[in-house]
Subunit: 344 residues, 2 copies
Amino acid sequence: MMLDDRKIKILAAVVHDYIATAEPIGSRTIARKYRIGISPATIRNEMADLEELGYLSQPHTSAGRVPSHKGYRFYVDFLMPVKKLSAAEHGLIRQIFDKRVNELEQLVREAARVISNLTSYTTLTMGPQLKSSRLKHINVNRIDETKGLLLMVTNYGTVSHNIIEMPQNLNDSDLVRISNILNDNLVGKTLLEITSDIMDNIKNEMIEYDEILNMLLEILIENLDEEDERSKVVSTGSSKMLDYPEFQDVEKAKNFFSLLEKSDLMTKALKTSTKPAAINITIGSENPFTELQDFSIVTSNIMVDGKDLGVFGILGPTRMEYSRVVSILEHVTNYLIKALSTML
Amino acid sequence: MMLDDRKIKILAAVVHDYIATAEPIGSRTIARKYRIGISPATIRNEMADLEELGYLSQPHTSAGRVPSHKGYRFYVDFLMPVKKLSAAEHGLIRQIFDKRVNELEQLVREAARVISNLTSYTTLTMGPQLKSSRLKHINVNRIDETKGLLLMVTNYGTVSHNIIEMPQNLNDSDLVRISNILNDNLVGKTLLEITSDIMDNIKNEMIEYDEILNMLLEILIENLDEEDERSKVVSTGSSKMLDYPEFQDVEKAKNFFSLLEKSDLMTKALKTSTKPAAINITIGSENPFTELQDFSIVTSNIMVDGKDLGVFGILGPTRMEYSRVVSILEHVTNYLIKALSTML
DNA sequence: TTTAGCACTCTCCAACTTAGAGTGCTAAAT
DNA sequence: ATTTAGCACTCTAAGTTGGAGAGTGCTAAA
């Protein structure tokens, strides 16, 4: 079911033009703008064929043609040019990683902002599933007479801190002992594995610290929920979408924003569209979630040493500048992976 | 220039109805809905007077009347009923403070979310100016062979952490010494006061730790900029605005969103509208910034022990449910202040 | 001083018209 | 056997027109 050369040229022209203008494109325009060397009439015949084959569609009888999802798919798989980024764009991306930033979250946030600025679409980010992350370091510090600080670092490089009430009867060497015990018993475990069982063991080892250990356990459990919160999908640059003709209708815009707020949906969308491949493109109705079938999503996972540190996703209209988006995403992801692999 | 009783009743009716419906309101409607006991004709005469006095205005000759900014101001100052919150609303607010949350930022974020849900307007929040906050605790922890963690806590209860590269030649007791020295020299100072001068002093005291101290100084300086970032205005619930008739025009909506992105403008707006009073209302053209003159802003500062810990602001159309907004803001702020004063 | 009555103004909306873009089909041209 | 010119046809977008309805201000009567 391959297309002949002329059909391909016409399909490419339609996709290219529609991505740029958002207007249905007619035979006359193709003949004028993309010199293929055949008359509008012939182009019309070819377009009728392409429509029958499912690559194009017509908003109404006397309008030009618009690519169908199948049309975009063909374009993405076979026709899409590799878009070179300009020096300025390169510079913007590199700039994020020049700063000495040592934390995953911040780096990802910055990257999302730049992606969103460069593409003018909405960028989605999802952090690593912290339930599966392993504790790398844990300790308790004293801040003042009554307050302390519980500090945890995971192997993903995420840091979390919690201010705690300090039992009065603990001195500094107690804290060092507690920190050491916690480290010895908990480091290397995933946050899910740290249950009351393990904590009971520790408590048995150190009955004298019962009070504070109970408190810490409680905080650990609370953190689990919260961290889940943290690993949720965050969207950046959503207001940019209002510039696109697709969202000139306020209803559409509202619909889009409320979509972004359905964080479980967005989480699933980012997860399922992430096959092993580096870059993943889901076009319109290819998406299993009906609410997202008017959009396209391009995702890219951040894999470092086999660890899945999260996903970038770009959410935009099906009429998306795929080639630009893909190369921007590729670049940012590569830089980020490089930065992270020296960091972790 | 006081209004007589009948004019006040009519003004109240217009403001009340316009806040509810966003439609200009005519003499007939007032006579029907708000039984004042006079005929539409008389109401017309009174409304003509109110218009001449500047309390009402007419979108066009044959439309009803709409409150002017002066009209809203009169309403807010003299007519506004005290809105009692429902039990459910009370519950939602209380709920935030039931969780054991020990951090200012998180608490504020939660509070903003609830305010935005309850009012359906956009909530703005601004943290304390960290440049003026005082260091309460600082120390350096080791995470693994090559990595360490610089930890800082301010008197406002904000915590910041930075992962750092550890020089190889430091052992654990070195870290304790460094932490102690830093604490002794820096605690109590504002972040602005911590300049290279002070650090030079410390370095002189401990020439052997030159390398790590230089690094820490660099991080401190970087943090200053970043913390500024943190104390910037954050907006919550902006997409809710799309429900209001004021923003049915996409241009208007776009304009609103790009306004939110001008963070320096929003910062100034929150600062200047904050006189000593607890709650501050700025209506339309009362705002010194022309871009904001189509909106009203209600602010409330979080003052604990004379320390300014930040500001809540609600941004909405001039046609805003002032009484609801004010009482919600009062409640949340009071709860928050109570929570913080036990915390800090 | 208040009110009924009425002419007047302005907006909103639905119905209609027109220009323009694009199509599909047919028949002629290559 | 393709390709192309020509043409009738269709559909939309953008006016234009003409009430209907809401609301006003003024005048004169209550």
